[in-house]
């Protein structure tokens, strides 16, 4: 009797749960048992399910962070959501990109601004994106990016995610050491790479030591205008080492920046003549030089006019830099990659590729050594060398091929290990040591990555307030991680969960990157960005971020033939028609085609493609665009909307008639 009633009770309970389960999960009553079944079928482990649970972002939900990554020689910048690792979009900068219409009628002027010596160079090699900062923290307003191949800097406005300026360095080519910003984005620092004669003039290699120059350029950023102000910018001449990656001081070290160098041996190669290749010559010495530059002092010197004008650009000469006490160097492990300043600005971490240690310098000790002139001598160019032992705080053996370091919020630092294909977690000392089990300056753990990691990026991990949580390992080789894609393989961007402590830092996602080669990336909290969803007003010119006076308005569409033989077309664009849709010009006419996208709905972008004349434009809601071309080929040309904008998208077209002479 009792047992019966109990079993009835149980049955009742079970059915109640089933009903509750049905109610809770909607039509499909899924249980963890079903999840287990799928996992078993697909051979997924608990760790795999955990990784999926940590990274999966359901449809309609948003990522927590956005990572801006360079794209290497694709010449763009990528925006990737974290933790989902979904590619959100690319931003065209140095390389024309037809989806955005960049360089096919739109942005041509900006691209042309950056042509070296006016020569069209239609690709770039982007390496190190730098988000604008306020008080050492990302403010989400601007993004800067270097072009290593031609020594250029691009400025991207993060309201509309478009490139606004490309500036060519007048002194040199190649700028692997950029871009990095000072804590309030006073300056965008563009470090060099290969030493070159000023203005890239022809100088035989045997005059390398005398006439080849190293340099760093400090571009003044005018935040109100959203442009680099070339007239307030200057460069500092440096020895013909290959100055490389740099990082601005912050907190206690605000006012300084730190810059690696390689090839302090001044190797110049000459393999055909039987001389050692540069890779050997440049790695001969056990140490290279960390450059310590007082930029606030340099700014004073520049403002006092103590500069030499070279190629029309003010340069603080090496002689002046030494005399003014604004440049010091100190030995660092050879062939270094990264130099990274700890969140409070008190420690500077350098990794030499060929030394298994990270070397940590104390800013306090550097400052003391500068003040007390604790020099171990001067280099061949007269630059005082701070005594290594008096500025080093610690050296930690982390593994083979250490490259770049990022920081967490909890006193952990992370260093990429290229040769080991791993990411090392180690502990900072000093004021970072509180509330942590591990001793200071100790290697804690190494997580293997696949494979050949270059840079790493931690969420806000190079700011004064690192978030931790996520680390992305930007791996150069993917080898066996993805399906074969021919001999050219995608990069592998691996997401690592660093929210745990100690040895808990698993890889939780592999993202194939098959459209470029990201080098460095920065990860910003998504809610710091204040992106526009549509342009603020109809007729908006993204270049001036204002309404353009020539923007065609509804009801004012026309074709205007001018006395000088040019033709202005004023066209409006809205779902699903162009007005006017018959454009007749004469062969040889110079045509300026003004267009306004009248749309106000989010995502109601129209494209504009014209055959034969190499024109494509992207017209985002409210945007004004002007394309200019010479109608040199007679004929009948259908132009059309290249975005699938509406149900009648295929009908959205017009004819360009070019009457023969």
């Amino acid at each position: 009797m009792l047992s019966t009633s109990r079993s009835r009770y149980r049955a009742g309970l079970v059915s109640m749960f089933c009903v509750a389960g049905l109610c809770c999960s909607g039509v499909l009553a899924q249980t963890m048992r079903d999840v287990e079944a799928v996992a078993r079928e697909r051979g997924l482990s608990t760790a795999d399910l955990m990784a999926a649970a940590k990274t999966f972002v359901p449809s309609g939900e948003k990522d927590e962070y956005i990572m801006f990554a360079s794209s290497g020689h694709a010449g763009h910048v990528f925006a990737i959501g974290l933790p989902s690792m979904r590619l959100l979009r690319s931003i065209a900068v140095f390389t024309p990109e037809s989806w955005q219409g960049w360089g096919f009628g739109v942005g041509d002027d900006i691209l042309a601004e950056g042509f070296p010596a006016g020569k069209p160079n239609l690709w770039g090699d982007t390496h190190h994106p730098a988000l604008s900062e306020t008080n050492g923290d990302y403010d989400g307003e601007w993004l800067f990016i270097n072009d290593k191949v031609n020594g250029r800097v691009g400025v991207i406005d993060l309201r509309d995610w478009e490139t606004k300026q490309i500036l060519k360095n007048p002194l040199t080519l190649s700028n692997h050491g950029g871009t990095f910003v000072t804590p309030n984005t006073e300056y965008i620092i563009e470090g060099g790479h290969f030493a070159l004669p000023w203005g890239i003039e022809h100088v035989p290699i045997d005059r390398y030591k005398e006439e080849y120059k190293g340099s760093v350029t400090l571009w003044k950023f005018d935040r109100r205008r959203g442009r680099i102000d070339k007239d307030q910018s200057f460069a500092i001449e440096l020895p013909p080492y290959w100055q490389d990656l740099s990082d601005a001081g912050k907190g206690v070290s605000d006012g300084y920046f730190f810059m690696n160098s390689l090839n302090t041996e001044l190797a110049t190669g000459g393999t055909l003549e039987g001389k050692p290749p540069i890779e050997a010559g440049a790695s001969r010495n056990a140490t290279d030089f960390l450059h310590i530059i007082n930029w606030k002092k340099a700014e004073e010197v520049y403002k006092a006019g103590k500069v030499k004008v070279i190629e029309g650009f003010p340069v603080i000469t090496l002689e002046t830099a030494v005399a003014e006490n604004l440049l010091h160097i100190t030995p660092e492990p050879r062939s270094p990659h990264g130099v990274d300043v700890a969140p409070k600005g008190d420690f500077i971490v350098v990794s030499g590729k060929l030394d298994p240690h990270v070397t940590i310098y104390s800013f306090e000790k550097i400052k003391r050594a500068i003040d007390n002139k604790t020099f171990s001598g001067a280099d061949a160019f007269g630059v005082p060398i701070l005594d290594f032992d008096s500025v080093v705080e610690a050296r930690i053996e982390v593994g083979l091929g250490p490259l770049h370091t990022q920081f967490g919020p909890d006193g952990y630092a992370y260093t990429s290990l290229y040769l080991d294909s791993a990411v090392a977690r180690w502990t900072l000392g000093g004021s970072y040591a509180t509330g942590r089990r591990e001793p200071s300056w100790t290697l804690v753990h190494k997580t293997p990555v696949q494979y050949n990691v270059g840079h790493i990026a931690v969420a806000e991990g190079d700011t004064v307030n690192p978030d931790g949580k996520y680390l992305v390992s930007l791996n150069k080789w993917s080898v066996d991680r993805f399906l074969p894609t021919g001999p050219l393989l995608p990069q592998n961007l691996q997401l690592i969960d660093i929210s745990g402590s100690g040895t808990n830092m698993p890889v939780i996602y592999d993202m194939p990157m098959g459209v470029g080669e990201p080098h460095y990336a920065q990860i910003i909290k998504a809610d710091k960005l204040k992106s526009w969803t549509v342009y603020p007003q109809v007729g908006w010119d993204p270049h001036t971020q204002n309404i353009h006076p020539m923007a065609p308005k509804r009801g004012n569409e026309r074709i205007q033939r001018n006395d000088d033989g040019t033709v202005d077309v004023y066209m409006t664009v809205i779902r699903s028609h162009f007005k006017p849709d018959h454009i007749t010009v004469k062969q040889g006419d110079r045509v300026r085609w003004h267009m306004t996208n009248l749309e106000r709905a989010v995502d109601a972008t129209h494209g504009f493609g014209v055959p034969m004349f190499n024109i494509t434009a992207s017209l985002e809601p409210g945007e004004y665009v002007m394309v200019e071309f010479t109608a040199d080929t007679p004929g009948t040309f259908p132009f059309y909307c290249t975005e699938f904008c509406s149900a009648l998208h295929l009908e959205m077209m017009g004819y360009l008639f070019v009457e023969p002479k």
Binding site: R575, S576, L598, E599, R600, A601, L648, E651
Partner: protein, 222 residues
Amino acid sequence: MSGTLRDRILGPRVTPIMARTHSLRFGTPGILLLVARVLLLVSLFLPYWHMELQAPQYPDGLHMTAYLNSLSGDVAEIDGLNHYIGMRSLYEAAQFERTVGVFVMIAFVVMLELAAYIHTRWAVLLVAPVVFFPIVFLIDLQLWMRHFGLNLDPDAPLSSAVKPFVPTALGKGGIGQFVTIATPGIGLYLACGASLVLIAALFFHRRAYLPLVRAQAASGGA
């Protein structure tokens, strides 16, 4: 009957002593008329009518709000979509009504002000138009919907697919992939509230002044 036409319209006056001794009786109609005036004035600044359009590609929906003198919200977007079915721009609808709306409301307030001084049945003439105003608003709205929906441009892109129809002025409707939801705005509720208050005002007006009017008639005039 005696007295001037003015006296006959204004009706018997209330002496200060009577007003003091029967303050509730003679105060109520005036207070209610004042409440109605306030409600109407406030409604001028509030929406009278909302239309929401829901469709998959507009996750936040499209919203249009009609005030007595203006339209706001996603009107341009709705117009843009309406061109596919050949519906005229919403800005062309009720242009006269929107132009005079504010003046009509001011006239209403003046009429109610005057009504407070008239102690005869003539007060009804001034109050009644205001009472019926919300109904007139809705009828006008319905007529415009009908006019717009039934007079589609036959040359529009989708004219062969969408036949003329009458959009719903209040409640749920649909066109294409859009679900339309039309609801009264808070301004219209206030105007309706004013109507109810005015009906009450007329009731208390009659209770207060009818005995005086009758007494005056019985005494053959003052």
